[in-house]
């Protein structure tokens, strides 16, 4: 059991977000890099191990507290929040759920302390939503697996020490932990993204990379059905909260601006058409946050329905984040279109959420299928 007080952790996160992240987020975005001191602070504060159980050295926050932490960090800086999503939610969360005891002991304590940074190497040139179409291969060779292939658009691959890699052997998909310094691993930074610009996105090439058999996550053939799904479940939960974070930030921007800015001799916040945008944002942020909390309650005991509840939360919050940030740009007018104000960055970051960890269209397909099963009258 963890003796960590979640409210104290979140208070520390809020302090760091207000002083160490929010004032610098535009700089991170412009420079397309997260400074090392930010990663070090996230590690030193224990945030990178926030959702990892105490027995592996983490803070052991439950999904609700971890979600709130994600919102606090994400409201200040989307790229720093992405480090939580990738390192803590996706990779560490998947190892906690599926890795052997030996693999947990090997990697989780260092991940919990943030001494090593991990990323999720799934996407390829032609394998995104169709994750089963990965062309990176593995073959068994004695006590090792040998990996060959190329991954693309991998967040934090530029600075990560460990890669959770999904590969295929003639249609059998498996997942492995690959260390950066393994011979044959090569990364190449990528640039020019709409958002998440400071997430050290890179291509990763594997050329005859030998991976110890113990670094297989779950069993051979568990790669897509179990590992990818578990990773995406954790990732979607994080992205759902990221949507709340961006929408809340946009709401605060538009309210602050609308109560100060005058046009035609009155504050623009008194205009009913502006009030409509503010009212919608207030309502949608509250609704999205409650959907995230609801998903968190399903995730805490990990019920079979947690995945669908998380899909619903992710779909809704990323949708309303796009709308709220778009409205923030609208309320700020010319200033909303300029990097001197946060609104344009929030707008770009929100669009990313409708694409990553399963596009909104994929969420719609899955949610509709759930709806038919649950709500179609049988007779």
């Amino acid at each position: 059991m963890s003796d960590v007080d979640p409210s104290e952790v979140i208070a520390r996160a809020r302090s760091f977000a207000d002083t160490g992240l929010a004032p610098r987020a535009a700089e991170f975005d412009r420079d397309e890099r997260l400074p090392a001191d930010v990663v070090r602070t996230m590690a030193a504060e224990g945030f990178l191990g926030a959702a990892i159980p105490a027995r592996w050295g983490g803070l052991g926050l439950d999904p609700l507290a971890y979600g709130e932490l994600t919102e606090v960090i994400g409201k200040a800086c989307a790229s720093t929040r992405a480090l939580l999503t990738v390192h803590t939610s996706i990779v560490a969360g998947t190892l906690v759920d599926l890795a052997s005891k030996r693999l947990k002991e090997k990697y989780l304590p260092a991940l919990a302390r943030g001494e090593r940074i991990a990323c999720f190497a799934l996407s390829e040139e032609n394998a995104g939503s169709d994750a089963a179409a990965v062309t990176t291969t593995y073959t068994r060779k004695g006590d090792t697996f040998v990996l060959n292939g190329r991954k693309k658009w991998i967040s934090f691959a530029g600075i990560a020490d460990l890669f959770l890699v999904v590969a295929s052997d003639h249609g059998t998909t498996s997942a492995f932990i690959v260390e950066r310094d393994a011979p044959g691993v090569d990364t190449r930074p990528m640039s020019g993204f709409l958002g998440n610009r400071a997430t050290h996105i890179a291509e990763v090439a594997f050329a005859d990379v030998e991976v110890p058999a113990e670094n297989l996550v779950a069993g051979v053939g568990a790669g897509f059905g179990f590992v990818v799904n578990t990773a995406l479940l954790h990732g979607r939960y994080s992205i759902a909260w990221a949507g709340v974070a961006l929408a809340q930030a946009a709401l605060e921007e538009m309210c602050s601006y609308a109560t100060r800015r005058e046009q035609f001799g009155v504050k623009i916040g008194t205009q009913q058409l502006v009030q409509k945008m503010v009212a919608d944002a207030v309502t949608n942020v509250a609704a999205a946050r409650e959907l995230c909390r609801r998903a968190g309650r399903f995730l805490a005991p990990r019920t079979a329905d947690a995945a669908m509840e998380t899909n619903i939360a992710k779909y809704f919050s990323s949708t309303i984040a796009q709308r709220a940030t778009s409205d923030a740009v609208q309320v700020l007018g010319g200033n909303g279109c300029w990097s001197g104000f946060p609104a344009e960055r929030l707008f770009r970051e929100a669009k990313i959420l409708e694409v990553i960890e399963g596009t909104s269209q994929l969420q719609q397909v899955m949610i509709a299928d759930f709806g038919y099963k649950k709500y179609a009258r049988k007779n």
């Binding site: 089963a132 779950a218 897509f224 179990f226 099963k373």
Partner: protein
């Protein structure tokens, strides 16, 4: 919504587990597949479910039958039919499996 009851299966039989699993799969099959589900059917190969459903099945098995599925059991084959799922549950509930 989504209430789940842990099955008291101290003396679980393969038949007990199979009945519960069969009902769960039927409840979760796509609304557009009006077909019979046999215990030996490979639910993924026959298109009743995508492998996305595998993880949901894992959590269903663990929460319903109060077992922890070891990592070396986590392969699609063990989750591919009513029969294989029931056999796995019975195996995990047996004294040597716990």
């Amino acid at each position: 919504m989504h209430d789940e009851a842990v099955v008291n299966m101290a003396d679980v039989t393969v038949a007990d587990a199979a009945a519960n699993i069969r009902a769960y799969l039927r409840e979760n099959m796509t609304a557009f597949k009006d077909v019979e589900l046999h215990d030996e059917d490979n639910i993924f190969e026959r298109g009743f479910f995508t492998s996305l459903f595998a993880m949901q099945l894992l959590h269903y098995v663990e929460s319903t039958f109060d077992v922890e599925v070891p990592d070396d059991y986590i392969v699609l084959r063990n989750f591919s039919s009513v029969r294989r799922l029931a056999d796995m549950v019975a195996d995990l509930k047996s004294p040597s499996g716990e």
